[in-house]
Amino acid sequence: MPSSPNVPLLQVKNLRIEFPTRRGILTAVDDISFDIAAGEVLGVVGESGAGKSLTGAAVIGLLEPPGRIASGEILLAGRRIDNLPFEELRKIRGREIGAIFQDPLTSLNPLYTIGRQIVETIETHLDLTHTQARARAIELLNEVGIPAADRRIDHYPHQFSGGMRQRVVISLALAANPKLIIADEPTTALDVSIQAQIITLIKKLCREHGTAVMLVTHDMGVIAETADRVAVMYAGRIAEIGPVAEVIHSPQHPYTIGLMGAIPSVGDNHERLSQIDGSMPRLTAIPKGCAFNPRCTRVQDVPHQRCTTERPELMPAGKTMAACWLHASEAVHQVKQAVTA
Amino acid sequence: MTGALGGTIRRILDSDIWYKFKRDPIVVTATIVGLLLILSSAFAPLFAPHSPFDLKTLNLSDAFTPPAWIEAGKSQFLLGTDDQGRDVLSTIMYGSRASLVVGFAAVLLSMVVGITLGLISGYFGGALDAFIMRVADVQLSFPAILIALLISGVARVVIPNSQHDQVAIYVLIFAIAASGWVQYARTVRASTLVERNKEYVQAAQVIGRRPLAIMFAHVLPNVLGPVMVLATLHIGTAIITEATLSYLGVGMPATQPTLGTMIRIGGDFLLSGEWWILWFPGLALVVLVLSINIIGDWLRDALNPKLR
């Protein structure tokens, strides 16, 4: 099925992920929608428990039971993939969608050489002979910056340092040339000095191969460096989504504003770090209406107490989209503008 | 005092463990059966229809009576009698009692020794620790049954013949306990090592609190879970070990038979057709151990966060 050039590479529509527990059904991801265009890097940022990793897992079809996709659709190049049978989904994994996880040490099987693991992946998806596959594996290792690749291909994971291991992991993810990579906290387990190198590597490779990236992290710095657009998640919902520069410099959602304000910069001179009072609600106790309303300083600016009663959808707000009733009038205004224009 | 107890009971009833317990019919059945067996044997003098070890009540003409539902059976001997005219049902109850006493006592002793040594080893470290652990390692090379056999054998030589029967039960308990302490020691030692490095221990030392008190107050609660699992499974093993030793003839004397002894006796008469002398004690043993193992197995799964 040829994909139309205007259809985004990845479309997530109204995705809801639930966990049945003995205390009832927990909704970990509540009705989120977003797109990723080919070759684009979308950052997904948020606190622990906001639902970002689950979203990534759902896209590649590796959601662990009892978690399950309760409703919504996931489309890859216009084709629905969330309801595919196992064998179909398996063929997509690695070939169309790849993944990188947080801890490079535990991501690699300690009992096999990295060469064997890469060649195995290549042979699963591409129709190459063993010799060709091995040659390609060495090429990949070179690309990710492993020195003496032709020798190190026969080494075991424990013989590499942490940063090197993550490079191997990246080469594994790219082995079958997928169009989209889900990177779940790819730098969190690494030394700060290595993080920059890995980020640069990811950026470079994805530009060269035209791979789109869904970059899940809690580190805004990484997002600022790498992403084209960013989605800010809160309590299983998307609070704001838009171009990276805009979200960082002129955030529109009170949560994002708080986040940006909480990041200290070297030149600042404050006595206290600013923070958002309170904490993200537990999945069992998500407030009615807007999930952020108990901590929000602008609740009173919205008429009819909408924040505590109605859940806001993503609506245009400045140059981004924000799920906040503060921008409700602006949405109406823009619609009016569009209609009259 | 009762307030604290009531609070604890309420917390248990409210907990995840109780919830899981209620929902698993197999474990509930096993617990009920196990409790029934334990209670009936603990109060054997009350429940047993006969007292099979009171020589005055035995009548050889009653020997080899089949179970009550077979033609030649008598209703007063529900499960038949053995070669001495002893009622099988009563012997099972008394026999289970002996097995259970030995089993529980051995495990208790094992636990106490193991936990103590583990605490000492982990807390004081150094040469003492190395020594205890070496002993543990060496002992682990030998299966429990062998150690128990050795101790029994040695006791046989060392203790004068006349006192054999009286002390047999203590020797047995000691032998089984000696073969099982290592697992507790290792678990507790590992926990102690972890706790010892924590700052509150150093703080307590500075204040002048005695180290033993510190260990008991803080390390023990942490190891309670795994130790309970070990202990429950250990009881099953201990009972089997005791039955094996008795079967082999080096356990309890014939005057205080346990289920193992009865199985041995029953084995002799199996081929001549008096099957009930073997089968019922055998069944009782299996059911007893099985229910304990089911509970222990379930407990281990319930307390293990990884297996959910």
Binding site: L62, R90, K91, I92, R93, G94, R95, G98, A99, F101, T106, S107, L108, N109, P110, L111, E120, T121, T124, P147, A148, R152, Y156, H158, Q159, F160, S161, G163, M164, V169, L172, A176 | R134, D137, V138, S141, P143, I145, L146, L149, L150, S152, G153, R156, V157, V158, A243, T244, Y247, L248, V250, I263, L270, L271, G282, L285, V286, V289, I294, K306
Partner: protein
Amino acid sequence: MLAFIARRLLQSILVMLTVGFIAFSLFNFVGDPVALMLPPEATQADRDEVRKSLGLDKPFYTQFAVFVQNALQGNFGISLRLGRPVSQLLAERLPATLELVGVATLLALLVGIPVGIYTALKRDHWSSQVLLTGSLIGVSLPNFLIGIFLIIIFAVWLGVLPSFGRGDTTQLGFWSTGFLTVSGLKAVILPAVTLGFYPVTLIMRLVRSEMLEVLRTDYIKFARARGLSNQAVHFGHALKNTLVPVITITGLQLGGLIAFAIITETVFQWPGMGLLFIQAVQFADIPVMAAYLCLIGFIFVTINLIVDTLYYVVDPRLRMETSSAGGH
């Protein structure tokens, strides 16, 4: 690698010395050592002479050294019960026990590993639940009871297998084997199944829990994320990682089986070392007990050494080569 083996060898020697020490204590402090070394008709003069020649008037450590020396040459004295040299008795019966244990272990592995894998991969299927319950029952059955039941079913009711003894054996040099005759092969089945019952359940549960553990790891998740087939994930990756710890435990099991054989040999009157040992315990035959102890210790230590070496070969992480400069 050499350093590794050297270290393990040293530990093994230490363990053997400890075991030897215990055996030595048995000899000296339990019962009269002089009586143990002599047949009962010996006179007092004989005893005094033996006492001196045994060096029983010498200090403790000298006696121990002598004991060790004797032990290394295989001299453990004379059996109180049978009046023959202990080493001879043990040598006669070693093949019987080893053959029994060998067959039992083979059975345990051939049945336990596949079943364990099955119950891990198909964990929610009802057949897995049945097998697991079966394994729980297996763990709760005492060895001797299983033997008795098997005898009842196969020897008494069906009459197809013998209920005791080893059948006809063939002598190959110093080793007497039961594998070359039909009756020998038939005779080993029931005892081997009895002995192997417990290890089967153990191995099955071990393999299952290890495999479940492995299937939850990140590298398995990553393997799936790369689109590897179920076969590649389960049997290529998971299986290898599962079996590595299973090797150790099975190896240790092997040693335990030799001791467990005591029970099985009793039930089936199998003429092995275990039966000899039990008779020694009943009779308080100290030399045999001590010798058996040393032999078992030796076997254990050897097995441990082999298992450790095997582990080393299989798990690349244990080979502490200096990794070439990888930079970052």
